[in-house]
Amino acid sequence: MAGSTLEIKDLHVEIEGQEILKGVNLTIKGGEFHAIMGPNGTGKSTLASAIMGHPKYEVTSGSILLDGEDVLEMEVDERAKAGLFLAMQYPSEITGVTTSDFLRSSINAHREKGDEIPLMKFIKEMDSAMDYLEIDKNMAQRYLNAGFSGGEKKRNEILQLMMLKPEIGILDEIDSGLDIDALKVVAKGINKLRNENFGCLIITHYQRLLDYITPDFVHVMMQGRVVKSGGAELVERLEAEGYDWIKQELGIEEETVGNNA
């Protein structure tokens, strides 16, 4: 078996005292592309944030393992160095720090001290990734995400993904706010990474992204759990029929987290 394996077992997560995830189980292996869909407010971003270690999210029980290593014991930077990457739904804006300096620090963080990437090599790699994603070169010298349009932020997340080449990538609504051309470019970037060593979890509301990136597995989240899993065919049915049939099947009335007491 190639690549890494991310195992999420019976994960419970609270935010500010309120339980959001109520027992999520999911396993992503190298080479597999998983999609998570689900109505607003059902815990998709919470899952992504808990995996990466967002300070506001508290894991109350369950486990997350990467190749058997306890991810929950790791600091955020250690998770990244272990091979996890999260393209965030709402990336932070950091004025004063250029995109290029940030990228270089990120790459060097993954390398040994004393083995920093040579500047010219870095610039070449960054330029070619920016070309591939059709990003305006000026972005490298602009402050990180500051004043970026929605689409620019998303492309910047994929730029980081391409340059850091993680084992497991989690993409939280990477398609939201993208026009159709940008969507194609972003999908092209993600597909470039597709190989037997790279596992990916794509959180999305829309079939249109999955038309370009065919998932191997599709999961539906409601009420802080994965309530249905299937193959790529599930996407079409959701697009055509919405979520009601799943709710009926499972006897769910209100799908969001707060309303299921």
Partner: protein, 435 residues
């Protein structure tokens, strides 16, 4: 001579000092007048900072000093501020207030630009100096410290750019308090005549961690009609030096004064930067950064007063506070009656790195005119945990992530410093102070 008592500045000392420097008569008289006032005037009272226990009286006025044969002889800590690669430098270095090194490109000399130490200027251009020396910008009798400054002024530089002359290359002054107890009463005058422009950058530096002394500094910056002055600085006095810094600007019609101040002293500091926008359509952007560490207490005031119509005054103060340091940041915009269509904006932000540090941001708007625009923003906060998370999620360690955020926070001012070598040094000083 060591000075400790309350009334130590004997008239004889001042007379002798003035005579030794062959000063013009007006200067000697001015010093004596100021000396007299010093004993009766009150100390300044910076808002919210109590300076009554600070050392303003214990210092030494004499120091053995050598010149400087070559820039190579500078200690490394100072050499780094100088772009040694470049031949055509415009540089003055005062070592314990003695002019140790001076160069000005022949091109600028030919154009009538003056850039020399204050004593030389007093000798060669006494009338010109007299025209500006503590006249329109700073008065000697504002309080005891300005009076002491006027009485004991022991060096400085005089910068003069004639009408219509555009100085492309920056002028740089380095004020090196080499003797650990030697006091600096440094006086800087920068004058840009009509339609002229220049960039001036100064560095103050000392290494006296424990030995105590005083730096009492006055800077007067005058931009005549349609002149443009870009003023950068890195203040880097060591812990033992108590600093009173008064930088004042006057901008006449269509004139522009831009400040980029790196306030990196390690000792107690009062620093005020006031700009008077006298002329219509005059402009000033006052940017300042500072890092407070250890037990130091600091008080920063950035103030712009709009008199002229359509004058525009912008203030940006960013401070980082760590350990048990404390600092007050006053950002004051004042629009006088008659300053129609003037604009005043202030932004004061403080980043707290430790729970024992104290930082206060006070943006103040005082407006005596109806038809104006104004705005202010202030914040005191810690490093944003979500920003940290974002950076760390790419593998960057917490310490490195904090470092990036702090440099980013200070970048608007650091990037405005006009000399590359000085900008780099400021970055390094920040690095040293923060870690």
């Amino acid at each position: 001579m060591s000075i400790e008592a309350k009334q130590p500045y004997e008239k004889e000392y001042v007379e002798k000092f003035s005579a030794e420097h062959n000063e013009p008569e007006w200067m000697t008289g001015f010093r004596k007048q100021a000396l007299e006032s010093a004993s009766t005037l009150e100390m300044p009272k910076p808002d919210k900072t109590n300076i009554s226990k600070w050392n303003f009286t214990k210092f030494n006025l004499e120091a053995e000093t050598q010149g400087l044969d070559s820039l190579k002889d500078l200690p490394d800590d100072i050499k780094v501020f100088v772009d040694t690669e470049k031949d055509d430098k415009n540089l003055v270095i005062l070592r314990n207030q003695i002019n140790a090194y001076e160069t000005l490109s022949t091109e600028l000399v030919d154009k009538g630009v003056i850039f020399t130490d204050m004593f030389t200027a007093l000798k060669q251009y006494p009338e010109l100096v007299q025209k500006y020396y503590m006249k329109d910008a700073v008065s000697f009798d504002e309080h005891r410290l300005t009076a002491m400054h006027a009485a004991l002024m022991n060096g400085g530089v005089f910068v003069y750019v004639p009408k219509n002359v555009v100085v492309e290359e920056p002028l740089q002054a380095i004020f090196w308090q080499e003797n650990p107890e030697f006091a600096l009463f440094n006086h800087v005058i920068v004058v840009a005549e009509e339609n002229s422009s220049l960039t001036y950058v100064e560095n103050y530096i000392s290494f006296n961690k424990d030995e105590e002394t005083v730096a009492n500094l006055v800077t007067e910056v005058i931009a005549h009609d349609n002149a443009s002055i870009s003023f950068g600085s890195v203040d880097n006095f060591a812990h033992g030096t108590t600093v009173y810094m008064n930088r004042r600007g006057i901008a006449y019609r269509d004139a522009k004064i831009e400040w980029a101040l790196g306030q990196m002293n390690d000792g107690n500091t009062v620093s005020e930067n006031v700009t008077h926008l006298i002329g219509d359509n005059s402009f000033s952007y006052a940017k300042a950064v500072s890092v407070g560490r250890g037990d130091q207490s600091q008080n920063f005031t950035a103030k712009i007063i709009n008199y002229g119509k359509q004058s525009n005054g912008l203030i940006l103060q960013h401070g980082v506070m760590k350990d048990s340091a404390s600092a007050i940041f006053n950002g004051i915009g004042k629009i006088e009656h008659g300053g129609t269509k003037a604009n005043a904006e202030q932004e004061s932000r403080v980043l707290m790195l430790s729970k024992d540090a104290r930082g206060d941001a006070n943006p103040i708007l005082l407006i005596d005119e109806d038809d104006v625009t104004a705005g202010h923003a202030a914040s005191v906060g810690r490093v944003d945990p979500v920003q940290l998370y974002y950076l760390m999620s790419r593998g960057i360690s917490q310490q490195e992530a904090e470092r990036l955020i702090i440099h980013g926070f200070l970048a608007p001012v650091v990037n405005a410093i006009p000399i590359a070598a000085v900008k780099e040094q400021l970055t390094e000083v920040i690095e040293r102070k923060v870690y």
